[in-house]
């Protein structure tokens, strides 16, 4: 059997696997569209492969790569069980990310096909759009959402997906150009990260660096070199953090800190793709100040709620004292980037986070404190209940406000609620809200 014959056989194998995968329950609603898209891709691949000369090793190698990629995606689909990730959260996430990832492709203007699966590892959060499948006549791109398997029910942490939406947008050429020109430009205009030489001097020699940074410099002096690729990657991270904050709000701030400090408890490490956490936190806090979220406590009338918000701010606020080593951008730079990003998202049809009104926030926090899943449920005891639409991000924000009250400094559980139970309450609240939204939208449709 030569290579071409084997690849034709592999087309059959991938097709057989694709059919076999139908034994399982896919994530919501994507089975038929995924199946049809892949059948078309396989048929087109075979159409190109059959007339190819058996000695054309270059073409055969390309086809082998395409088939390998298809089989990988089919295998991931096999693991896409609705029970392994919180589907209500996924549906809300899709509503934010899909408008952004909709694009003009060769055949039609298609929304991407969503596939969701769980992966091991705390850092496995991902949103990817496939690209560079140039040999195939792509109808619709595959859009992958990956959840950490162990955090299946931890919806509060899933706010980190706001950051991943930024990476997904970056893979679309027209968005990338916009983001570089409008969002990153003000950030790159001044400061210690203005050029690779300045950035290297800042990371390697700046005397104002905190002690842990100095220790890390001494342990690995070579790592303080910042070349163009590293600097670009770091800027992409800063931009994606702003994406997260602008799309998910306060819950992103908390999820970001919780997850990143779990992966790097020092908060000072850096790598070829990621700047030190302390710098990222400083940028986020400047963005919060620009959005006036730091003024939220002063606007609240209810003392208990105000205390909750203050406690949250104390946990997640960063420094904005000018001159601190980690404070790499000015307030004006961050403000310009945030405004450009909000304009960009609005044009794409992705809604930005707005702080909930006091009554909504108070109601959601009150439900959680009373161990009731938070949603727009009418608890007034009215004979004809009027359930409200609630933004899922407000449910997450309320969850994080209550999370602040869960443990004492010694780690004992207060409120009779563990962090796991709090997440489960929020997860159930999201499901209930989906039902309310569905009912309300149908009712509206009937009356209009």
């Amino acid at each position: 059997m030569n290579s071409k014959e084997f690849l034709l056989q592999e087309c059959e194998n991938v097709r057989a696997t694709l059919r076999d995968v139908l034994r399982h329950d896919y994530s919501a609603g994507s089975s038929a569209e995924f199946y049809n898209e892949f059948c078309e891709r396989l048929a087109f691949l075979e159409y190109l492969l059959k007339p190819t000369d058996s000695d054309d090793v270059s073409a055969l190698a390309t086809f082998a790569g395409e088939l390998s990629l298809l089989s990988t995606i089919v295998h991931h689909m096999e693991r896409s069980h609705a029970g392994e990730f919180p589907w209500p959260f996924t549906e809300y996430l899709q509503s934010l990310a899909t408008p952004l990832c909709k694009e003009n492709l060769a055949q039609n203007e298609g929304e991407p096909i969503i596939r969701v699966y769980a992966e091991g590892g705390l850092d496995s959060y991902q949103i990817n759009l496939e690209n560079d499948l140039s040999q195939l006549n792509i109808g619709r791109r595959i859009f992958t959402i990956v959840f950490p398997r162990t955090l299946r029910h931890h919806v509060l942490l899933h706010a980190i997906f706001g950051h991943e939406i930024g990476h997904a947008a970056w893979t679309i050429p027209k968005h990338k150009a916009d983001l570089m020109d409008k969002v990153l430009k003000p950030l790159r205009a001044a400061g210690p990260l203005n050029s690779t030489s300045q950035a290297t001097a800042w990371l390697g020699n700046d005397p104002g660096a905190p002690g842990p940074i100095v220790d890390l410099r001494n342990q690995d002096p070579d790592s303080t070199q910042i070349d163009g690729n590293k600097l670009n990657s770091w800027f992409q991270e800063f931009m994606c953090d702003l994406f997260g904050l602008v799309t998910f709000g306060g819950s992103f701030l908390a999820a970001h800190q919780t997850l990143l400090l779990a992966l790097d408890p020092t908060g000072h490490r850096w790598g070829p793709y990621h700047p030190p956490y302390i710098c990222r936190k400083a940028v986020l806090w400047r963005a919060c100040k620009h959005l006036k979220w730091d003024e939220l406590p002063a606007s609240l009338h209810e003392p208990g709620l105000r205390a909750d918000v203050v406690a949250f701010m104390n946990s997640y606020s960063g420094t904005t004292a000018p001159g601190r080593w980690e404070d790499v951008f000015t307030q004006d730079q961050v403000a310009a980037a945030v405004e450009a990003l909000r304009t960009f998202l609005s044009a794409a049809g992705t809604s930005c986070f707005n702080m909930p009104d006091e009554s909504t926030l108070s109601s959601l926090v009150g439900m959680l404190t009373n161990h009731i899943p938070p949603c727009g449920s009418d608890l007034s005891g009215a004979a004809s209940p009027v359930n409200r639409g609630v933004d899922f991000r407000h449910i997450l924000f309320a969850g994080w406000l209550v999370a602040e009250k869960l443990t004492t400094p010694s780690g004992s559980v207060k409120q009779g609620l563990t962090f796991d139970q709090l997440n489960r309450l929020c997860e159930l609240g999201l499901r209930q809200q989906r039902a309310i939204d569905l009912y309300n939208s149908t009712k509206k449709g009937q009356t209009s």
């Binding site: 329950d25 609603g29 009731i372 608890l379 209940p385 039902a435 569905l438 009912y439």
Partner: protein, 203 residues
Amino acid sequence: MSALVKKTILESIAKGHLVVSPIISAKQIGASSIDLRLGNVFLMVRARGLSDVDPGRFAHSDETAGDHAFHQARRQKHERFEAPFGQKFLLHPGMLALVPTLEWIKLPADLQGIVTARSSWAREGLSIATASLIHPGYKGIVTLELANLGQIPLVLYPGLRIAQIAFYTLSEPAREEDMGSRFDMAFEPVEGNVAHGDEVFLP
């Protein structure tokens, strides 16, 4: 012990004494009961070599990390399945499925709940008759043990009203130490411990 009528149920909810959340439609509220909707998780018994109901396994095992056989048998007994709204679930004749209600229930110390099938579904062969008593002080979803007593499959969709709960006052509030169970704060169905308290009778 007397049953609460609609007016009293709504007053109890308004006071925060009783919680049924969410009540999506006014149609759920009956003269002396509230309809409950089907939730999104299904736990179905899986018929295979490692599946059985053996009280002895509970009696002589604990939930320690190293107890492989105990955990394996428990996990292999049920298939867990989640259906988003709009996705159907087939309940075949003779099949048992544990499902949660969409609603979260919180009962005070002086009320208990009785859950039964809605008569329209019962007429189609749907039984949810077992474990219908909800103890005072309970909070969580209600687990419904669905069985199809008919001869043709029943197609179920999350969000459908399939059960109803009625509330009864007690002669006096239950004592704190008598309330609470291992199913308290349940977010989805879990199997029970059929050996609990009867270990002495097991080999």
